[in-house]
Symmetry: C2
Subunit: 287 residues, 2 copies
């Protein structure tokens, strides 16, 4: 904080939410976007100090640059504007995958600048700055994915942002372990929700859903461009996780086919014990 100036590239839901949260905490925050209206909206609402369509106008004064855009767009942006980066710049991102581009991005960074990967595990089904709100970060998990190219100071700068945005647990993971983890907790869950909704053959399902179906399928509303990119960039991990899941589902189906109640009970006991453990470790209070 203090005199460090933050610029966020991409005034979408995530960018605007982070901008608003950091502005509230006293940071001086600027925004970069190709969409003038999004910039004006954020400036008029006091979410950012100023908005720029031309990155070169603000990059020279930026100490911390947050890329809140799609993975592919990030590389292009850095290639184009790295000559404008201020010495000592810490660059971070919000991508749901890491391994496929961390090396490339780190190699692109000018001398004296560094890239510290980050994954704020929060979001909403809606898009756009007008749906942003920093409350989505409250208590959520935040993962930093440093490598040996990063300094402790650079990593700490990103973790400070996460604390100031009121994230809960802030963890450090290697890019490889991160990608393996999110293949399970995030991408597999989305794949399941999509497959579940798409397997519905009934026109009237909506009349007969309980909470469980609605909870499971909320994330089937998914941004097709972003998520197809995330899925493909992390395909090896994700295929493995899908196969682990298929195996366990097949156990249940097999028990149904053979009528073996004891196998079902064993699977139910196992899932109950595991999920309760997760609840306790997270101190979920509302369950």
């Amino acid at each position: 904080m203090g005199e460090r100036r933050v610029t966020i590239v991409g005034m979408g839901l995530m960018g605007a939410s982070m901008a608003e949260g950091l502005t509230r905490k006293g940071y001086r925050v600027s925004g970069i976007d190709v969409d003038r209206r999004a910039l004006d909206y954020c400036r008029d609402k006091g979410i950012i100090e100023e908005g720029y369509e031309r990155p070169e106008e603000i990059l020279g004064e930026t100490d911390l640059l947050i890329m809140a855009i799609y993975p592919k767009g990030m590389i292009k942006f850095i290639e184009k504007y790295r000559g404008e980066f201020k010495k000592g710049l810490v660059l971070t991102d919000i991508c749901g995958i890491k391994l496929s581009f961390v090396d490339e991005v780190q190699k692109l960074m000018p001398q004296g600048c560094q890239f510290v990967g980050a994954h704020p595990m929060a979001g909403r089904e809606k898009t756009g700055a007008e749906h942003g709100e920093p409350e989505i970060f409250l208590g959520a998990n935040f993962i930093v994915t440093p490598t040996e190219r990063n300094t402790e100071e650079g990593i700490a700068a990103v973790e400070e942002i996460a604390r100031d945005l009121s994230f809960g647990r802030i963890s450090r993971l290697s890019p490889a372990r991160h990608d393996n983890m999110v293949a399970f907790t995030s991408q597999l869950t989305h794949a399941i929700a999509v497959a579940l909704v798409n397997s519905d053959r009934d026109e009237d399902t909506y009349s007969f859903t309980g909470d469980s179906y609605r909870e499971l399928t909320r994330i089937a509303m998914i941004n097709e461009e972003l998520w197809s990119e995330l899925f493909l960039e992390n395909r090896e991990n994700l295929i493995g996780k899908i196969e682990d899941f298929q195996e366990k589902l097949e156990v249940i189906k097999g028990a149904l086919l053979s009528g073996e109640g004891e196998i079902l009970k064993r699977e139910f006991r196992s899932s109950t014990a595991r999920r309760k453990q997760l609840r306790e470790k997270r101190n979920e209070v509302d369950l």
Copy 2:
């Protein structure tokens, strides 16, 4: 309402929640259970007027009997106590499956009495009367599964209970269509949650979960006795639903294996459109 007296068999979470909701609405509600402490708890809290371990003490004065116990226990109860049923009794239940026992139960009913199947699509992960609360029914779906053995008056008596408990949509389905529907909306979702949790190979998952994983897996905490019974009694339908789901998940896996982003996008567009439709039809306001 009025002079009609309601007795609920089973003072568990569901039985106690229904008892409390109906008592608040002015019904005279009694409870039957083998557990004296549960009965005393409910009576002391004003959830029921009186509790009975011996059903014969209250069945003669009961106009509407709600079986809030496991499917298998219900048949035994009816066989044992049908001689005590008051003429004109309407019997209903809360089972998540219907077809396998509706015929049997209807045949067991004495002359002048009738069984009207019902499925209140609400619940909590917790069990026991002390966790009961009628708020769980607010706006939830309620399905009645009448057959040609029922009178319009008998069906209406059960639907009135559902309205008085503040259920939202109250629908009539045949037992067969009901079972096919819940195989998809309820049992498949539980099978998926169980398989997902059981496929977790990482000790530290809890540190890195987002909302989506927690939402998808909440229902993996599951009563093994009840749910193995529900799964097995509805196994044909459930196997079919699992296979439909497996097929759609395989499409996603296939697209990952071949690297075909267009297939992923197509699946994501489809699930997004379908799930949005469900949201609109239900007027979900919080999304």
